[in-house]
Symmetry: C2
Amino acid sequence: MTEWLSLFMEAATTIKEKTKTMFRSAQSGGMGEIGAGGDITHPIDTMAEEIVIRRLQDERIPCVLVSEEAGTRPLNGGGDDYVVLDPIDGTTNAVRHIPFYSTSIAHATGPHLSNVDAGLVMDLHNGTTFSAKKGEGARMNGVETTVSKTTEVEEAIISIELTHLGRVRNVARTLLPLMERSLKLRLLGSTALETAYVASGALDAFIDIRGLTRAVDLAAAAVIVREAGGFIVTPKGEKLDMMLTAPARTSFVASANRQLTAQIIELLKTASAET
Amino acid sequence: MTEWLSLFMEAATTIKEKTKTMFRSAQSGGMGEIGAGGDITHPIDTMAEEIVIRRLQDERIPCVLVSEEAGTRPLNGGGDDYVVLDPIDGTTNAVRHIPFYSTSIAHATGPHLSNVDAGLVMDLHNGTTFSAKKGEGARMNGVETTVSKTTEVEEAIISIELTHLGRVRNVARTLLPLMERSLKLRLLGSTALETAYVASGALDAFIDIRGLTRAVDLAAAAVIVREAGGFIVTPKGEKLDMMLTAPARTSFVASANRQLTAQIIELLKTASAET
């Protein structure tokens, strides 16, 4: 049986080293092309994706790869194992040398987010690694980690996504009551890493109500947050599931505990009612 | 004559090392107290401030220290040299282990921002250092650095401050046109470091229209941005100056070039007119 987390750890470590080399030789910029998920693909995304593909091919692991760049692609004959990859989550940060970008890799036993049973998110700048296996808890750098105990929005540090507001209406207005009441806000630019931060208590919540989070961003971080004791729900507070495909998009709330989740959902509702 | 930048570099390096030690021994949390600037003071802020004070005392440098924690304080008899310090800018990030916090130290020949003639901002997580001496250009890790060439808001990555919106009215509404038109938004949680990022082109602009930026946050980064070819103005596009005191607060726009600055100011005006 494949040791998915060990495999992901090795692949992510290779990506981290290669990324540093590319930055030193300054080949990371240049014109990008549109990936299967609709975003601009940079050379570093392609490089990172190839590392994972090569690894899966070398080990002759039959699986379906779902990736931001390559889309859905059977490897070694395909099968029921899904590997869900965002090779570089936070490419803009990486290209601009803002030290906050990550690799996200998950394993699923089927084509839905609810089928994910293992995930790993690695900070490619400093190597901090979040991982989880379903039923076995979440880890940060190999040590068990849990969500924060913050139950009140007034004491919470919350990351929000506000990019591409020109494409999506009423996002800022809907988030306003939450923005006004939370202790501090962040917008760091790597959904996978920010969501994983909810698992370690670095953040109390991460919220994207734009409907723009990709399955490949969320797959690994979702199992990590849930295994750390946190919640991943829709902005209406319902159970979140989605297809594991490159074009799939969703809104979601990741939050440390039931009380904080309920407060966030309530504040999002208030705003919607006023729209 | 005192080599201010060398002195600041040595002090910031010591703070960086001590911060790492404190994190390892996990003494960074605990109850804070209110500093001279009004924010909660954590043990790491006090530790970092003491390093700078001790250094100035050991070298018997007569100056007036203006610091977030200690307020305004003559050292070695005081005099016309001002040392403007934010020992830890981004304390929340530091305490939460979000890898984005900095030390900011500036020298001024008088009590106003316009008197600042040298400044240094060090990323305490990874050691990246921004510095400038008036008339001699800006440097990142010792190498000359300049602002980005981005002239259009649609292509710009812009950091905005949205924390404490409960205290300040209409901030989100005023920023909305800018939020909708910019390529990407960020909110990283260390004003000094984000402003310094405008000097290196990592960000195209940083904006705080809340009136909550402190002189101690801005003193070093302002001279760094200006020396890198960038602009620091009020949200109305006017020349920015302020007293160098712990309680002093301002709004400001840091931006890569004249064209981008003009566009930002125009978008902020549009919104205000609609309020």
